[in-house]
């Protein structure tokens, strides 16, 4: 997994609540058997019209935000389906950090598995960042995972919380399957005991 340490980049404002995974990556793009190449279809139905032409008013089509690496959005971001294609598309587009007042559970988990940092923050702080993002390409925001701190373009700092284990995995780019396999003895022990206690499973 790609490491995440400090990110200094353009933040795109997407002030919508309940941005669902069908919006992030519509189902016609789920037919792939690869993880790569989904960035061009990120937010497809909002980004392109019926002829496949760009809709100029959509934030990621505006010149200032085409290279955005951070996304600021509303409550319950990533709700809906469990499709990991959503974070794959976000990552493939170049976005490494999503900031919103709240996230849907599965999407939130999926982000960490793909080197994306989702940051839930109180609404007032999201509002500050949203305003900052609206300033355009000159307003670069810094996200420092080590220090757990966001710095706005005018130097204001906002601390954030992140689970210690997930932070450790992100900073070091760790594959958690390998970490779990180190606990193989414990898993075997559990299986032996479960075979006694619940043999019907």
């Amino acid at each position: 997994m790609e490491k995440f340490t400090t990110l200094h980049g353009i933040a795109a404002p997407l002030p919508l609540i309940n941005v669902d995974t069908d919006m992030i990556i519509p189902k016609q793009f789920l037919k792939t058997i690869k993880r790569e190449g989904l960035g061009k279809n990120l937010f497809d139905e909002m980004r392109f019209d019926d002829n496949g032409d760009e809709i100029p008013t959509f934030v990621l089509n505006k010149p200032a935000y085409r290279d955005a690496e951070i996304l600021i959005s509303g409550d319950n971001f990533g709700c809906g389906s469990s499709r990991e294609h959503a974070p794959w598309a976000i990552k493939d587009f170049g976005i490494r950090c999503v900031i919103a007042p709240s996230f849907a559970d599965i999407f939130f988990n999926n982000c960490f598995k793909n080197g994306i940092l989702p940051i839930p923050l109180p609404q007032e702080q999201v509002d500050i960042l949203m305003k900052d993002a609206e300033k355009g390409a000159n307003a670069r925001i810094t996200v420092d995972l080590e220090a757990q701190e966001i710095t706005t373009s005018d130097g204001q700092t906002i601390p954030f919380e992140v689970d210690a284990f997930r932070k450790h995995c992100l900073i070091n780019g760790l594959d958690d399957i390998a970490l779990t396999l180190e606990k193989n003895a414990a898993i075997e022990g559990f299986e032996a005991q479960a075979a006694q206690a619940r043999p019907w499973v």
Binding site: C79, G80, D105, N110, A164, I177
Partner: protein
């Protein structure tokens, strides 16, 4: 010390290790479908890993499969075909249980798990699909996972988890005639919002839940995810045991007795701690439909389309956008909304009881002229049973298309899709923009309500069709 909830009990029984606030949870059943698994199997191959417990892993194609009669002849869409072939190959290479398209037991993963007895009380069940919550109806801890986690479970039979909080949703009393499990769950989500359950596992309880069949309970738990919860649970009881007993993969003989003695301990203790409690009166729930593009946009069929100003915060803009997308004006009575299409099916309402409920309304009626209507049974076995009971004939005579099993128009990955602007009465679970086809407009409701809408061509209070006509004086 306070007692334990059902969730606590299942959690504790599956805990492998618990360090630094991260827990390793053992997974009893892993269900796999073609859309969210190819990358996981590819990951295993690249790392030279095996499936740790192939006997506990079950694969079935459902999302992509066409639902027409002669689908066995092959699929035109190349990408879909590649995904199905990949599942076929992965199932064989890794030696997992598999129900191919040609098998009568094939169907939507969340329907066939319970049908085949793979889902049992007290289990942990996962699948790369958010509606895995369905299996919670058996008192199993069941939830959706992403593809990286699918790979993790394939390789280790465990999942790295953090424990959720406990939420109780109680439905007291009894339901009125015409009101079903779907109306309950839509009403709950309308009350709590789609993010109301975020961070929680919900246990549904109360008299009205106890009175539901397993099919109805699955409908409720299916949509726990639409309320934001990681999982939904209903404690097992006689209804559960009766459903499970005799299923192909359910325990038998002495094992059944042993299982029963544990299952009977699976309930929340009276003194258990709840982080959140929501109570609804069964009597207050009416036949319910959605008007917007989020499952929380649900109202009794007797209500009217709301206005953006009826809301506050971010919801004002969301409602503006939803009304525009849905082509609806505030103040329009919901029962005046005309539809083009009816879809009965999905893992929410594609079981035999759902088809019975819809057929009971349709019997002796025809669908409105010009309407497109289809029934897509949740599994090959549901389809066979409906044919045997004569339900298929009722649907066909009414003018419905009678399809083969799959997800179909629930998410429109196969050829069953809405055209832009087309309006659909659907028994599925998501009314998101574009869910049933780009520009398509979805109204969620129960199978009986969808059948009523098929007859009149508009959203309809099913009670209008079922109320006995008064005797002449």
């Amino acid at each position: 010390m306070s007692g334990k909830t059902l969730y606590d009990k299942i959690w504790d029984a599956h805990l492998v290790t618990d360090t630094d606030g991260t827990s390793l949870l053992y997974i009893d059943r892993h269900l796999v479908h073609e859309v969210t698994s190819p990358q996981a199997f590819e990951g295993l191959r690249m790392a030279g890993r095996k499936v740790r417990a192939p006997g506990q892993t079950i694969a079935v194609p459902d999302h992509n499969v066409p639902t027409w009669e002669d689908r066995d002849k092959g699929i035109d869409n190349e990408e879909s075909r590649i995904q199905l072939e990949a599942l076929d190959k992965n199932a064989k290479d890794f030696g997992i249980h598999y129900y191919p398209v040609s098998d009568v037991r094939q169907g939507i993963v969340h329907i066939i798990g319970p049908e085949q007895g793979w889902t049992l009380p007290g289990m942990t069940v996962v699948c790369g699909d958010s509606h895995t919550a369905t299996h919670g109806a058996f008192g199993a801890l069941a939830h959706g996972i992403g593809t990286s986690e699918v790979e993790h479970v394939l390789a280790t039979q465990t999942l790295i988890q953090q424990k959720s909080k406990n939420m109780k949703v109680e439905i007291t009393g009894q339901l009125s005639p015409g009101v079903t499990a779907k109306d309950i769950v839509l009403s709950i989500i309308a009350r709590t919002g789609t993010a109301g359950g975020t961070g929680y596992v919900i246990e549904y309880c109360g008299e009205a839940i106890r009175a539901l069949s397993m099919e109805g309970r699955m409908t409720i738990c299916n949509m726990a995810i639409e309320g934001g919860a990681r999982a939904g649970l209903i404690a097992p009881d006689e209804t559960t045991y009766d459903y499970v007993k005799g299923r192909p993969h359910a325990p038998k003989g002495a094992q059944w007795e042993a299982a029963m003695s544990w299952w009977k301990t699976l309930y929340s203790d009276d003194d258990a701690h709840w982080d959140k409690v929501v109570t609804l009166k069964g009597e207050d729930i009416a036949p319910t439909v959605t008007w917007g593009t989020s499952p929380e946009d649900a109202l009794p069929i007797t209500a009217s389309v709301p206005a953006p100003d009826d809301f506050s915060g971010g919801k004002v803009d969301a409602v503006k956008r939803a009304l525009e997308y849905m082509g609806l004006k505030a103040g329009t009575p919901l029962s005046a909304i005309e539809i083009d299409t009816v879809f009965i099916g999905s893992c929410t309402n594609g079981r035999i009881e759902d088809l019975r409920a819809a057929a009971a309304i349709l019997k002796g009626h025809k669908i409105k002229d010009g309407l497109r209507a289809m029934v897509v049974p949740g599994s090959g076995l549901v389809r066979a049973q409906a044919e045997e009971e004569g339900l298929a004939d009722i649907f066909k005579q009414a003018g419905f298309e009678w399809r083969k099993a799959g997800c179909s128009m629930c998410l429109a990955m196969n050829p069953d899709q809405l055209a832009p602007g087309e309006r659909c009465a659907a028994t599925s679970n998501r009314n998101f923009e574009g869910r049933q086809g780009r520009g398509g407009r979805t109204h969620l409701m129960s199978p009986a309500m969808a059948a009523a809408a098929a007859i009149t061509g508009r959203l309809t209070d099913v009670r209008e069709l079922t109320q006995p006509t008064p005797e002449p004086a």
